[in-house]
């Protein structure tokens, strides 16, 4: 009985994977540049959401440093992948620091470097802060995020300061972002399923009990925080590769709130919820751009629609979610065939109740 069910699940999974791959290939071949960019942004937001959910949703800590870690990854790609011969043009106010001016690496090593640098930054912040009880982490990470941004604004010969870095070799294909997003998702599933994932959840549920069960709080919080930092660095690296141009203002701490919205909407402690809501939020943010355009309805100019209104709508949505769906779409559950099957059965039962003739077969 159980065996048979497992078989069914394997078949369903294979169909799903084949369909997704086909869909992605189709999208990559046929979609417009703009649509592909949105897919790429969805992928980056999914990675960022997972990164933030690992700390906030699964380990029960509260970190607001995503934008800072992302900036580190983005600048690793920006600094090291811009072709050497255009660097003089990019750094036209002050030449690039000679020590790094001639170092050029490919996107993949630069992305991994970005991940590691972010992870190191996470370790350095975590070391003093994670020993303390309470929510010092939120303050420390928020501060870190701003310090990184200000540092990058002022390190003229490394980051080109407020002007940012352009001519980053960018890709309009979807494979890098989508590929990394898939690997990150699979990694997260396996990590959370492992005994370390359970230890993280134990810390989330009750630190004191977790410690009494022999779980070293500092070590496990640090592990979660550093992995999360690595993921965020990768996310930032991909962002640089998608946009081709970055500057420090993109990494204002308000960026972190987008990721916060994703995990709150998707469910703190749900991987599939994070993926679903990263798509909703990214696509929604794009769609909400109409709120930033002037709007004329029936010949009347609606005054609220102007640049910035998008974020107002966005904030209202966030508040509504927190108020009415405090557990988000998925809570701590994961999407599974069982869950979908049960949902389908419930919906069907409801329809049959309303209209008994729908019930097939000779049961009448």
């Amino acid at each position: 009985m159980k065996k048979q069910y497992d078989k069914k699940r394997v078949v369903l999974n294979l169909i799903l994977i084949a369909a997704s791959v086909a869909l992605l290939i189709y999208a990559n071949e046929n979609m417009s540049f703009y649509s592909k960019r949105i897919i790429n942004l969805c992928a980056v937001y999914a990675i960022m959401g997972l990164s933030m959910n690992l700390i906030n949703g699964f380990t029960g800590m509260f970190s607001l440093g995503s934008a800072g870690f992302m900036a580190i990854g983005a600048y690793a790609v920006a600094i090291f992948t811009v072709p050497v011969d255009v660097r003089a043009e990019v750094f036209y106010l002050q030449p690039m620091w000679p020590l790094i001016a001639n170092i050029h690496i490919g996107f993949l090593p630069a992305m991994i470097l970005g991940g590691f640098l972010s992870a190191i930054a996470a370790f350095l912040i975590g070391f003093p802060v994670l020993r303390l009880r309470g929510d010092y982490l939120a303050i420390a990470t928020l501060g870190f995020s701003e310090i990184i941004r200000i540092a990058f604004t002022n390190l003229q010969t490394v980051t080109n300061g407020p002007l940012g870095i352009k001519y980053i070799p960018s890709f309009d294909e979807i494979w890098w972002p989508v590929g990394v997003a898939i690997v990150t998702t699979v990694f997260m599933f396996l990590l959370i399923k492992s005994t370390y994932g359970r230890a993280f959840k134990a810390i989330r549920e009750d630190e004191i009990a977790a410690e009494a069960m022999g779980i070293n709080l500092f070590k496990h919080k640090m592990l979660s925080f550093v992995i999360s930092g690595f993921m965020a660095g990768m996310g930032g690296a991909l962002m640089a590769g998608i946009l081709g141009t970055i500057d420090p203002k993109q990494f204002l701490f308000t960026l972190t709130y987008n990721f916060l919205l994703i995990i709150v909407l998707g469910g703190m402690g749900s991987i599939s919820g994070t993926i679903i809501s990263s798509v909703i939020v990214t696509a929604g943010l794009e769609w909400l751009r109409i709120a930033d355009e002037p709007m004329i309805m029936f010949g009347y100019h609606i005054p609220m629609f102007r640049p910035g209104f998008r974020m107002v709508v966005f904030s209202i949505l966030l508040m509504a979610i927190v108020l009415f769906f405090s557990k988000g779409l998925m809570g701590t559950k994961e999407l599974s065939w069982e869950l979908l099957g049960n949902w389908y059965k419930r919906q069907r039962a409801r329809f049959i109740k309303k209209d008994p003739s729908l019930k097939g077969g000779g049961s009448k």
């Binding site: 990694f187 492992s194 959840k201 134990a202 009494a212």
Partner: protein, 264 residues
């Protein structure tokens, strides 16, 4: 006589421990000894410092002064997780389960401390990590069946009735494979029948898992029935010790404690 021989081996000793919180001296110069195979009770009126003594023993607090010894080795100042790894497990006065996780997961998590592979091997399910993971599941199943929790195995911990939550908390402590088990008011909130069942349960696990038990308890029936020896604490100070008869008849104890709560 076997018992008498066993009582010679101290598992837990506290040497003059004092715990101060600002002006409050919660535990004052406390020296006790719990020997292998014993069930020892720590009693005393509310606020006497019993839980604080447990917190000092398990590393939640570092004592202001004094020393805690586990099988002759000092564990003073070690972190709680380290002390658990050395074979001391505990329960809490206000139940502290992993509330939103299942009974099974609660116990499985307590096996994490014996897991010796790094997180990458565990995540990628490399052979040696996989083997250990499998062992954790086998051990968990075994313990769950042994302690009669199989019918609620997949229930969320917080959905269990109160008595069963206490039961699960003890099971979870056992999963860490302790030699010394500290129970902080295991019978709190239980009715007489549940208390009787608990008494039998503690005896049973003590024998089966070769435990030494040190418990705080207010239910005097339980304490008098189960304990080999009793320590009495009042305002952080040890005022009496001895077997149940000696303690029951000690005038200091009657004055400080039994006199007030004769009905307990």
């Amino acid at each position: 006589m076997n018992q008498a021989l066993k009582t010679m081996v101290p598992v837990l000793e506290t040497k003059n421990i004092t715990m101060r919180f600002g002006g409050v001296v919660a535990v004052n110069d406390l020296s006790i000894q719990v020997n292998q195979g014993e069930i020892v009770a720590l009693i005393g009126p509310n606020g006497a410092g019993k839980t604080t003594a447990f917190n000092v023993i398990t590393g939640v607090y570092t004592p202001t002064s004094g020393d805690v010894l586990l099988k002759g080795e000092s564990i003073t100042g070690l972190l709680p997780d380290k002390i658990t790894q050395k074979g001391v497990a505990r329960t809490f006065q206000n139940i502290r389960l992993f509330k939103n996780l299942t009974v099974y997961e609660n116990i499985l998590i307590a096996k994490h401390l014996r897991f010796k592979a790094d997180f990458m091997s565990a995540t990628l399910q490399l052979p040696h990590a996989r083997r250990m993971e499998k062992q954790m599941h086998t051990d968990t199943e075994l313990l769950i069946n042994r302690l009669g929790l199989q019918s609620v195995k997949n229930e969320i911990a917080s959905s269990l009735p109160y008595g069963q939550q206490r039961h699960l908390e003890i099971a979870r402590a056992l999963a860490t494979e302790p030699e010394l088990l500290l129970l902080d008011e295991p019978a709190a909130g239980m009715n007489p029948q549940e208390t009787d069942e608990l008494t039998a349960f503690i005896r049973e696990i003590k024998n089966e898992y070769n435990l030494t038990v040190f418990m705080i308890e207010h239910h005097m029936d339980l304490v008098m029935e189960i304990s080999d020896r009793i320590y009495v604490l009042d305002f952080g100070v040890l005022i009496a010790e001895g077997n149940p008869d000696q303690v029951q008849n000690n005038p200091k104890v009657i004055e400080a404690y039994l006199g007030v709560e004769e009905d307990a």
